[in-house]
Amino acid sequence: MFFSFMLLFSRQGKLRLQKWYVPLSDKEKKKITRELVQTVLARKPKMCSFLEWRDLKIVYKRYASLYFCCAIEDQDNELITLEIIHRYVELLDKYFGSVCELDIIFNFEKAYFILDEFLLGGEAQETSKKNVLKAIEQADLLQEVRHLIKITVDK
């Protein structure tokens, strides 16, 4: 499922993460974000997770105080998109240990690193939770090392 973008925002409309997979100007991104956030926040709790907004298909889900909102293409499967969003939340949860909004605020760059290990170019790249978490772990280790060491990897 090709994600045009993924937005995370709070109940007050504050943006916590924005990942764009299509080239848009800063101005356009801001406009879309502002209007879409308003639209999603105005929806009632029991409503459908899917909406047609402008000419985009939007899928969103609320986890505690955070809304996970993304745009997919016309031919994409909305239900599996919900599963992809859920998988990302599970990854965050495993990494941070019972993740909450504050974790994502104070460690936003890590939330991005995890997302980048799960989605690539707007598509899911790894379907195994274990593999994603393992890769992040290794990359984190690498970051700790002061100088770059050549690590040979066997696969």
Binding site: F50, F106, G121, S128, Q138, V153
Partner: protein, 727 residues
């Protein structure tokens, strides 16, 4: 990974700001510090600084001064700096920025780095924001990685290739061979990437699609393996083995099986298996089922499988989960044309969804319900639809109203039912109907002469209870004007008669109201008011003839003016409706009625506006002079008699001024024994033509052709739009 203390401190400082102003102050200070740091030589805190800037950027503040720092960081040998540098590049540099080209070389180097996590950063960034130029540059590298690297890199290279193909379509050919061989891999990540890449290649290029059809058996095998295999903890999601991969394979099968019997046959068994065996208690199972259904309905599947698919959708409709109901209806909408009967079976459930709380679900249900209306179920469906109309959200009203009208027109079981339905809609949602509804309804009413009494009674009653709906009032006024005598008669077979009396005092009130409009600014209203005043004062001998009933309006004659002439009915006291109701074609100025004058109501009520539209029953070829698509010689235009009735003759002659302009001279002549006064001509033209009527030579036509009235009309067709004959 230890947190970045400087970053977290800054975040804390920003969050503790109590006002927007305070926050801006903190941010400005921080940005100044960051800028200073950027200028300094390499220190240990570079990645922290950039991270701070990225946070500030996410809050919405400008951060473009960090772009060059990103470029520098990406080139750093330190992994921590590369990581943040690439993140910064993805956030601050998109393909539209010039600076993005500067990182092409770094990406190229990093793609061949010995450390796979560094390679991964480069691949991720290229796939996220790589411009067409960068893609062309680096495509060979990606192809190399697709063939010879470990699984971790291969899966990423595959998706990077997808991005490249999206940006530069021609490069699809480059990746096709490598994509094919990737299908043999066991690693799910690589398989997933391969399937996505093949899907992209097939969607872009029909030839590639032909070649990849050979992979259908392989795909079926892989899919079977996933469906039948035992529990695999690594890929299991609620009992389904790697649903993400399953969905992608199903989608690829859909593309390969479309319009191809052989391929569709090869996947038939598999699809049946997936459709029957997939557990549908959780969303993830339903996601796979959904994709299966989409595939079955799109390929050349056998009828049994199709029925199975539609039944799955039917089950979805009954699901408690609103999301599932929604996608069920979306899918049913797609097939309601081809598998109409199958969808009809679920009509009941669909109609129930009209009452759902969610507006998106309601919209889907409305569209689907309208598509399911047929001659057999029209009565029950209309009941539901009208019920829906009375409580539906505002944004759906117009759509619902017009859908109901269309359905009523196509399948109305009886005239009376039809009129009832339209009246119902007008009373409920009169404000949301389109303008042509009023003339259409009036046309329908005039055609149903046996129901005139019934109709006028119903309308009168409707008016008595509510006069806020403009379209209803228009129709009602027109009918009461026409069939008021039926009201007065006080008897009606179809419905209970209303007791109405004619009152002299009302007529006096009408006269005074009409006189007020005699000085109205709106020329139309003023003209009619004056005319009616005249009719009130004199012409006793003519009044009866003038006020005859209107002839039946012919159906589907958009041109029929039907008495739309110089004397028009006075508009009612509500603001004039929008739309072209008083349009009179240039060449059919005096319309089709016997008399040039309008009927007058005898009962106390306001007068309706006549529903009229243009016609050009004659002289279409004259209008063609304005079209001018081919260079036509300036032929002198002939004089044409365009109207000859009741002793009034109207001729038209034209002269072509330029390629896009034409002057028309209208001449009216009266051969009757009495004078005609207050004679005016009106004209209307299509939107592409501009009309300018000069002042007429006079407004009275003396008897027996003693004198003529002429009027010049300038027409211009600046866009040289070709004009066609309208009926």
């Amino acid at each position: 990974m230890s947190p970045s203390v400087p970053l977290q401190e800054m975040i804390r400082a920003i969050r503790s700001a109590r006002t927007q102003c305070e926050e801006r102050g903190v941010i400005q200070r921080e940005c100044a510090a960051i800028r200073a740091q950027f200028r300094q030589a390499d220190n240990g805190g570079r990645s922290h600084n950039l991270a701070k800037l990225l946070y500030v950027h996410m809050l919405g503040y400008p951060a473009h001064f960090g772009q060059m720092e990103c470029v520098r960081m990406i080139a750093s040998p330190r992994y921590s700096e590369k990581r943040v540098g690439y993140l910064g590049a993805m956030m601050l540099l998109d393909e539209k920025q010039d600076a993005s080209l500067l990182i092409t070389n770094s990406i190229k180097n990093d793609l061949s780095h010995s450390n796979q996590y560094v390679q991964s950063l480069a691949l991720c960034t290229l796939a996220c924001m790589g411009s067409a130029e960068m893609c062309r540059d680096l495509a060979p590298e990606i192809d190399r990685l697709l063939r010879a690297s470990n699984s971790y890199i291969k899966k990423k290279a595959a998706l990077c290739a997808v991005h490249i193909v999206r940006k530069v379509h021609d490069l699809g050919e480059l990746f096709a061979p490598a994509a094919r061989s990737l299908l043999a891999e066991k690693n799910h990540g690589v398989l997933h990437g391969a399937v996505v890449l093949i899907t992209e290649l097939c969607e872009r290029n029909p030839e590639t699609l032909e070649r990849f059809r050979k992979t259908v058996p392989d795909l079926v095998q892989i899919m079977k393996g996933l469906v039948i295999s035992g529990y695999s903890p690594e890929h299991d999601v609620a009992g389904i083995s790697d649903p993400f991969l399953q969905v992608r394979i199903l989608r690829l099968l859909r593309i390969l099986g479309r319009n191809n019997e052989a391929a569709s046959d090869a996947m038939n068994d598999l699809l049946a298996q997936v459709a029957t065996n997939t557990d549908s208690t959780k969303t993830v199972g339903n996601a796979v089922l959904y994709e299966t259904v989409l595939t079955v309905l799109d390929i050349k599947s056998e009828s049994g499988l199709r029925v199975l698919a539609v039944n799955i959708l039917g089950r979805f409709l009954l699901n408690n989960d609103r999301n599932i109901r929604y996608i069920a209806m979306t899918s049913l909408q797609r097939i309601v044309g081809t598998d109409h009967n199958a969808v009809q079976r679920h009509r009941g459930t669909i109609v129930d969804c009209l009452k759902d709380q969610d507006a998106s679900v309601k919209r889907r249900a409305l569209e689907l319900s309208l598509a399911l209306v047929s001659a057999t179920n029209i009565r029950s469906m209309m009941k539901e639809l009208l019920l829906f109309l009375s409580s539906c959200p505002l944004e759906l009203r117009a759509q619902a109203a017009s859908g109901i009208f269309n359905a009523a027109e196509r399948y109305a079981p009886s005239q009376r039912w039809h009129i009832d339905t339209i009246l119902h809609v007008l009373t409920t949602a009169g404000g949301d109907v389109r303008d042509e509804t009023v003339p259409n309804l009036i046309q329908l009413i005039t055609n149903t002469s046996e129901l005139h009494c019934y109709t006028v009674h119903k309308l009168y009653r409707a008016l008595l209870s509510d006069i806020s709906q403009q379209s209803l009032v228009q129709v009602a006024c027109w009918c009461i004007g026409e069939y008021g005598d039926l009201l007065l008669r006080g008897e009606c077979q179809e419905t209970e008669p209303v007791q109405v009396q004619e009152q002299q005092s009302i007529i006096i009130r009408i006269r005074s109201i009409v006189s007020i409009y005699g000085s109205c600014i709106d020329v139309e209203l003023q003209q009619r008011a004056v005319e009616y005043n005249a009719l009130f004062k004199k012409y006793d001998h003519m009044r009866a003839a003038v006020l005859e009933r209107m002839p039946v309006i012919e159906k589907n004659s958009p041109g029929h003016t039907n008495g739309e002439s110089t004397r028009e009915a006075v508009k009612e006291f509500f603001p004039p409706p929008c739309g072209s109701l008083q349009v009179c074609d240039l060449l059919d100025l005096l319309g089709g009625s016997e008399e040039p004058l309008q009927p007058n109501p005898a009962v106390g009520s306001t007068l309706p506006v006549l529903p009229v539209s243009t016609s050009s029953t004659a002289g279409g070829d004259l209008l063609d002079l304005l079209g001018g698509l081919e260079p036509t010689p300036l032929t002198p235009a002939p004089t044409v008699t365009v109207y000859e009735k009741g002793g009034v003759t109207l001729t038209l002659s034209s002269e072509k001024q330029s390629d896009s302009g034409l002057t028309v001279t209208l001449t009216a002549c009266n051969s009757t024994d009495s004078d005609i006064s207050s004679f005016t001509l009106q004209a209307a033209v299509p939107k592409s033509v501009q009309l300018h009527m000069k002042a007429p030579s006079g407004d009275s036509l003396p008897a027996r052709g003693a004198a003529k009235v002429t009027q010049m009309v300038a027409l211009s067709n600046p866009n040289k739009v070709g004009l066609q004959n309208t009926q």
